[in-house]
């Protein structure tokens, strides 16, 4: 559906996006993750044809972005960050204006505007100027704007920023609903959001792709290490260390701040096998009292930090 090759964009001397390649299939919901200033928005702006790549090519279906920008724009719906709309226009007028520019059939315009007003919950504000709406409603108007032409590709830049938790859930539901048939690309820096909505995530940092794949493959790609924390009473650290290090698969053992009488030990081990059982057997063989035994798998936050903190 979308094919980008060697995509590069400079702002004067600053390299915002650095030779990235990716393919997006039809029907995928792709999340673009990255820290602030990583180049997320720049990538999206190039995909929508708003910015020209300094070098590299983008192909959407059979169209190239420099030869057929208009055809590509017709396939796409775009919601920029913070939905910058015309403040003075009424919501109703604005949606009709978009329907006109998007060249909807005359008899389709009214039903389409009505349908989007229902879908995005805009019925109560249709006759208010956009400038007077709250941020959440502006975002909904932006969403209605982006979906006006029933686009095959929907691109959204931080669609849930500034919304309250209820609205976030609603918008995520809408995104999932659309994503059943359409290709959706969204950028976010909220990891839970990507986890909740996206089939595939691409993490970019300093203009480069540092990870690309489904949520599960990304998690596996992490450090490949699990953390098991144990709380023990009636034990000495040196003997604990000695016993635990003997287990096959344990990478390191360290003492953590414990409570009064209990001792906390953090065990780092390879994530290929679950060592909880063996640790328990070791503890059972001694006269230590086991208070707690928990295994933490790699969280998305950890992976994100690992991938974006380096350099």
């Amino acid at each position: 559906m979308i094919h980008a090759e060697n995509l590069t964009r400079y702002y004067k001397d600053l390299c915002a996006v650095d030779r990235i390649n990716f393919d997006i299939q039809k029907g995928e919901i792709m999340g673009l993750l990255g820290p602030n200033g990583a180049g997320k928005t720049t990538v999206l702006r190039m995909l929508t044809g708003y910015l020209k790549p300094t070098s590299g090519t983008i192909q959407v279906k059979e169209y190239g972005i420099d030869t057929h920008p208009l055809q590509i724009k017709k396939l796409m719906g775009y919601l920029p960050e913070a939905a910058p709309l015309y403040q003075d226009m009424l919501v109703y007028d604005y949606l009709h204006y978009v329907a006109n520019i998007r060249e909807l059939e005359r008899q389709q315009k009214m039903p389409r505007v009505r349908h989007l007003a229902d879908l995005c919950g805009l019925n109560g504000v249709m006759h208010k100027p956009i400038g007077e709406l709250s941020k959440g409603f502006k975002q909904r108007v932006g969403l209605a704007h982006a979906m006006m032409n029933d686009p095959e590709i929907l691109i959204m830049d931080e669609p849930t920023s500034g919304l309250d938790p209820n609205q976030i859930v609603e918008i995520r539901q809408i995104i999932k609903e659309i994503g059943k048939e359409k290709t959706v690309i969204l950028s976010t820096h909220i990891l839970n959001e990507a986890e909740a909505t996206c089939d595939r995530v691409m993490i970019i940092n300093q203009g480069k792709i540092v990870a690309d794949g489904s949520m599960d493959t990304l998690k596996q790609k992490g450090r490949g290490e699990d953390l098991i924390s144990i709380s023990l009473r009636n034990a000495e650290y040196q003997s604990v260390e000695k016993e635990l290090c003997a287990i096959n698969g344990v990478v390191s053992v360290a003492e953590d701040d414990g409570e009064d009488e209990a001792m906390k030990v953090k065990v780092v081990c390879k994530s290929t096998t679950d060592l909880r059982e063996e640790i328990y057997m070791k503890v059972k063989a001694t006269d230590w009292i086991l208070l707690e035994l928990t295994r933490e798998t790699q969280t998305l936050e950890n992976i994100f930090q690992d991938l974006t903190k380096e350099n």
């Binding site: 044809g49 708003y50 020209k52 724009k73 910058p84 226009m89 520019i101 998007r102 060249e103």
Partner: protein, 234 residues
């Protein structure tokens, strides 16, 4: 071309939802009306020469005030991004906004049609120069609007856009009045750059193709420049 129509409609409508339109029209009518009728009864002649004579100067600051928001506001709020990611060409946007500006100046001129009507009751009015004057006024408006539009496309600050537009329009208006500083050899050439000089010809009732061509090419150059400024941003 459909897009030009819708952008025109939207921009022209936007003028009248905010109070700016009414303020600018009032100021324009007040200034032209005052300066025209202040001397009209002293000369005791039934013509509009004074009204048209002042038009290039009034237009030089009124039109940039009309056009300053066309691009700057969009650049400032970011709606420019929304506009350009819809299926529109640069020239659709430029033409739509330009025509909206010209139509607004046209709407501003409509109330002044009452001057020749009133005057025709007071004495024998020669309608030739009046018609020529209004045609010239529209041509002048078109070129100043395109200059204002160009200025607006350069910056996201409306005040800066206004000042740039006004500076260019004023220079074009006054250029033939400042020529006495320059050597005789350059005079003939530079005189033809002045908007006032060409407008003067038309408002006498002589519609010369050279003057029409001057205004059309001025508009074209400024609109082309606007297109380039948009290109530069992407």
């Amino acid at each position: 071309m459909q897009q030009v129509k819708y952008i025109f409609k939207k921009e022209f409508g936007a003028y009248f939802v905010s109070p700016i339109a009414y303020i600018v029209i009032s100021i324009f009518l007040l200034i032209t009306g005052w300066f025209f009728f202040m001397t009209f009864f002293l000369y005791n002649q039934a013509n509009l020469r004074n009204f048209f004579g002042l038009l290039p100067i009034t237009f030089s600051f009124v039109i940039p005030a009309v056009t300053m928001r066309l691009f700057s506001e969009e650049l400032n709020t970011g709606s420019y991004e929304i506009l350009l990611t819809m299926p529109v060409r640069f020239k659709d946007v430029v033409l739509g906004k330009f025509l909206a500006g010209v139509a607004f100046v046209g709407a501003m001129l409509v109330p002044t049609l009452s001057y020749p009507l009133i005057i025709s009751f007071l004495g024998p009015l020669d309608w030739g120069p009046v018609i020529g004057g209004y045609i010239g006024a529209l041509l002048l408006a078109a070129s100043f609007t395109s200059i204002g539009l160009f200025a607006s496309s350069l910056t996201r600050n409306q005040i800066v856009a206004f000042i740039i537009g006004m500076a260019i329009c004023f220079s074009l208006t006054l250029i033939d009045k400042m020529l006495f500083f320059l050597p005789q050899s350059l005079l003939g050439f530079l005189e033809h750059l002045g908007a006032d000089f060409h407008f003067g010809n038309i408002s006498k009732g002589i519609i010369d193709s050279r003057d029409v061509l001057y205004f059309l090419s001025l508009s074209f150059i400024a609109l082309y420049g606007t297109g380039l400024a948009m290109e530069e941003k992407s």
